[in-house]
């Protein structure tokens, strides 16, 4: 009863990474709660999609396969989800904190009058006692996220309303095969029963999607720059170091907002979460929104003029100095020693 649901996003016929990560997390939550893990996929041409999700431990897969569901638009997907959740009454519903999930999630939560927490960095099961009424709740979803610009970490619960909804960014949860032999049940949704013309008023007339060019998530070494780098030109030094070490360049939100670096390289709560072997933080102060996206790096080098920058607390090497001096020397001594 009262399953854990994951809304799976489709990118060019394939289930998105963020959805597979959520299925992995959803499987763990469902097992802990002793309930089924169910997934919902909406799109067009979804033949054999179950083969992609069953290995992640999905017990029931709901499929809505119809031209009206692709490309994604808000109203048809909302209606399918709201009706399905109304009927199935999941206790937990997860979706990616993507431009789809963050468009869809609030709309669904509003229609169902249920609580939604955006951009969670951790999800756990636990109990809660309401301070006012003294009422105790078992097995609630703890939705944990930085808030207030990352200066605090809040644990949010939805004691009364269901489903307990949360969005999570790509790369925050780990993607792990549950069991290659795992088999679930496929349930086809009759889309005609759900949609009418009023759901189709928004029309996509043009669409240019590109595969993300940079793949900082997979890079073993990341040279990341913050606002302290100072300019777009100074970022060239970071590209140089990254090229020499065989890594990628990342950036903090402050550096992206300042126009030093493109958004797809942003690391942190509102960007990508990375777990490289080596993370070189250049001119990054280390606000928690940023460190939330890099704290699992195996080794961290922090280069900063401020000896008390918060990033230093995460660092294995703290280099207090000007990155315009330090980085060329690092390149020089890497070349010298790697020969």
């Amino acid at each position: 009863m009262n399953s854990v649901f994951v809304y799976c996003e489709i990118e060019e016929g394939t289930v998105a990474d963020v959805s597979l990560e959520l299925l992995t997390k959803g499987r763990a939550l469902a097992t802990k709660l002793g309930v089924k893990l169910e997934a919902i996929v909406l799109g067009e041409g979804l033949k054999d999609v179950e083969k992609q999700v069953f290995p992640y431990g999905v017990d029931v897969l709901w499929v809505g396969d119809d031209a009206r569901l692709a490309p994604y638009t808000t109203l048809p997907h909302t209606k399918m989800l709201v009706r399905l959740f109304d009927a199935e009454k999941p206790q937990v519903a997860l979706m990616g904190a993507t431009s789809v999930g963050r468009d869809l999630g609030p709309r669904v939560s509003s229609a169902l009058h249920s609580g939604l927490t955006a951009d969670c960095t951790s999800l756990e099961i636990g109990e809660y006692t309401d301070a006012k009424s003294g009422k105790k709740y078992e097995n609630l979803l703890y939705q944990i996220r930085p808030a207030f610009g990352g200066n605090i970490v809040a644990t949010i619960v939805n004691p009364e309303c269901r489903p307990q909804m949360a969005t999570v960014r790509e790369g925050v949860m780990k993607k792990e095969i549950f069991n290659l032999q795992h088999q679930g049940e496929v349930k086809k949704l009759n889309v005609d029963e759900y949609l009418d013309d009023t759901d189709l008023v928004v029309k996509v007339i043009e669409r240019h999607m590109e595969k993300s060019k940079v793949n900082i998530k997979a890079a073993p070494i990341i040279v990341a720059g913050g606002y302290g780098v100072g300019s777009k030109e100074n970022f060239n030094l970071l590209y140089e170091l990254a090229a020499v070490l065989g890594g990628e360049v990342g950036a903090s939100r402050a550096a992206v907002d300042a126009g030093f670096c493109e958004h797809e390289r942003q690391i942190g709560q509102t960007g990508t979460t990375v777990r490289p072997k080596l993370y070189i933080a250049c001119g990054i102060s280390g606000q928690i929104q940023h460190t939330a996206g890099m704290e699992e790096s195996s080794m961290v080098i922090a280069i900063n003029t401020d000896a008390n920058a918060p990033i230093n607390k995460f660092a294995d090497y703290v280099i207090t100095g000007d990155l315009n001096v330090v980085i060329p020397k690092m390149i020089q001594y890497y070349k010298k020693n790697s020969k």
Binding site: T73, G115, A147, F148, E206, I303, A315, G321, K336
Partner: protein
């Protein structure tokens, strides 16, 4: 074409982007009083989109709706300095403790007092970064929504054509009005204040602000009624009290931890040649690089 009625939803937020040392208390928690209150950045992008429509479609009006304490009237003035026609402050203790859903409900009730063809707001506010209020307002009013808007390209009086900036590309959509549009930070920045409007509206006050005002203000308002900004309490909107504030909020904050950074043993270098030489040798030896 008939002029449009546009409502911009805007929020006054603490400037969480510039949390300096003085903004943290000795115990490591945030001293909210030390943070300046600003116009939420993406709401300014939203205002610009509205003002551009006003520039191009004759007879178009732009009003700001904001919810917050009395001092949030500042947001309305700021919008008027840049070309908005006026605004509404929704302010009452009954709204305290609202999560995004209760906020959206209150705003949607206030919007029912107004006429609108377009409701435009920023994608998200920097104090919560949730991006939920826009879509939830749309749902409450049963309106279609277009999120992540970068440019309102066209409006023929019935349908708007909007370019959306998504993570991996762009999309152009058409949407019938009325609708809710949430605007990305990648959209055009808001125009600066106009000196003429600053002179005209600098004495405009909301009801709570006017409580501290002197006689001169009231004499001025008699002459220039536009200096009195409309403020609504819970009694001025039709709402179900159970859906407002804390009781209308499905999400509860279980606990809040101030971020305390965990120290770990680090090698502290000053960046000399010998140190960096040794560091690169270590990293190569332990196979971190190379």
């Amino acid at each position: 074409m008939k002029g449009l009625k546009i409502v911009v939803l805007a929020k006054q937020v603490p400037d969480t982007r510039n949390v300096g040392k003085d903004a943290m208390k000795a115990d490591g928690t945030v001293n909210r009083a030390a943070l300046p209150a600003i116009f939420n950045p993406e709401d300014l992008n939203a205002l610009e989109q509205a003002l551009r429509l006003k520039d191009t479609i004759e007879g178009t009006t732009v009003h700001v709706l904001t919810m917050g304490p009395g001092r949030a009237a500042e947001i309305i003035r700021e919008a008027m300095y840049r070309g908005a026609d006026g605004g509404y402050l929704l302010s009452d203790r009954a709204f305290a403790g609202s999560d995004t859903l209760a906020t959206s409900y209150a705003l949607s009730c206030a919007l029912r007092n107004l006429e609108y063809d377009l409701i435009i707001c920023g994608r998200q506010a920097i104090d919560g970064d949730t991006a939920q209020v826009g879509p939830q307002v749309a749902e409450k009013l049963a309106l279609p929504q277009v999120t992540y808007a970068e440019d309102i390209q066209k409006c023929d009086g019935k349908i708007v054509t909007i370019k959306r900036r998504l993570e991996r590309g762009i999309e152009v959509v058409t949407c019938p009005m009325p609708c809710v549009v949430t605007v990305n930070g990648s959209a055009a920045p808001c125009r600066p204040r106009n000196a003429r409007f600053v002179m005209k509206y600098k004495n405009a006050k909301g009801t709570q602000e006017a409580q501290d005002a002197n006689e001169d203000y009231f004499a001025l308002v008699n002459e220039r009624p536009y200096l009195k900004l409309t403020e609504w309490s819970v009694n001025d909107i039709q709402s179900n009290p159970a859906d407002l504030g804390l009781s209308g909020s499905p999400t509860k904050v279980k606990n809040i931890e101030s971020v305390v950074f965990q120290a770990k043993e680090a090698k502290v270098l000053s960046g000399t040649d010998a140190e960096l030489d040794a560091m690169m040798k270590e990293l190569i030896t332990n196979h971190t690089i190379g």
